[in-house]
Symmetry: C2
Subunit: 208 residues, 2 copies
């Protein structure tokens, strides 16, 4: 994959990824041509190939970048020294905040998995598995410490991630519930699901 | 929308919907042409217009049919006379079974919402809202009966549906867990999330 270096080249590469993301989110990967992406960025179709070898690489780059960004952000947010309950609350709040800021990317990352080549799918799957393992480890540690009750930490981690990511399908800024309230409600749901008590029990949302 | 009647016409209409569903699931709505759908069914492109007015109608039909089928199936499965805990367990098992048998349709129903016209989107949204209300009502009744503890039944119903539907993204027949075990695990997660106890407490999955 030929990539031009230097600040102008990097800017163009970023613009190409951003344009591909917008177009894939709006029309779907299969319906978007390299020509359209070039047009959106304002470069000749031929110039696109200085930055990426083909549309498949663009898609793989987007999905891998999304997962690497997520894992790096979690590395900055994680609190491995804390007890399992605090770690779970940290994770729930982190996951919600991170995903609500990237709704387009989340959508593409689920929807376009089917359009990845086998090799690229495996690369993305490995990164997703690392992220799922984060939750599984917290649940394992909580079970070992006697503060969570979870029949199958692997399945429970997938269930929690699906539940939290689902917010991106209905959340609208300025809606009925402010983000902090949504985080609180989902912390309570998550802790309930794993049979644990949220660390800041005093701050728990009151029943309706 | 001109529709031919009679058993042969109805069969063709069904085949067209099935072909559209397969192609939309594989390539995405925007990338599929009416010509491709006709080819898949084995009819002339022109003949397709005897059955459907355009691709948008085909998509709307699929998504509306999916929701109407879901609501009708729930009407057959629901147990309104039972206590809230039994009703929630009935719902959880129903939702999992119904969706695992229609993974393609579930995928299209989430992914292609963006491609519906405003009018069709509203029709689908109304049906989805009816289904979400099923869970919200159960949670409300459970809170009123003092058997569930839920801060926001509306949000909790969306959270439960997302958690349960998420199974369709990882479940493979013949995998590590048999369907009955998956249903049991998700019942426990759902009851935990709403602060309730599953009715058949003796049958709860043992912690790992």
């Amino acid at each position: 994959m030929a990539r031009r270096t230097g600040s102008s080249g990097e800017r163009t590469a970023r613009e190409i990824r951003a344009a591909a993301q917008r177009l894939f989110a709006e029309h779907g990967y299969a319906a978007v041509s390299m020509r359209q992406i070039a047009q959106e960025v304002g470069v000749q179709a031929g110039a696109l190939y200085l930055y990426t070898s083909d549309k498949q690489s663009l898609l793989a780059d987007l999905l891998i970048e999304h997962m690497e960004e997520l894992l790096a952000a979690w590395d900055a947010a994680r609190r491995d020294e804390a007890d399992p309950a605090t770690r779970l609350e940290t994770f729930v709040r982190f996951h919600i905040r991170h995903h609500l800021r990237r709704v387009d990317k989340v959508f593409i990352s689920y929807m376009e998995l089917r359009n990845l080549s086998d090799e690229n799918f495996l690369r993305v799957e490995r990164l997703r598995r690392l992220y799922e393992q984060v939750v599984e480890d917290i649940l394992h540690d909580g079970v070992a410490a006697g503060v969570f009750r979870v029949a199958d930490p692997r399945v429970a981690s997938l269930a929690l991630i699906a539940m939290l990511t689902g917010i991106t399908t209905w959340y609208r800024a300025g809606g009925r519930l402010p983000p902090e309230r949504i985080e609180r409600i989902y912390c309570d749901l998550a802790f309930g699901a794993v049979g644990g008590a949220a660390p800041a029990a005093a701050g728990r949302a009151a029943p309706a």
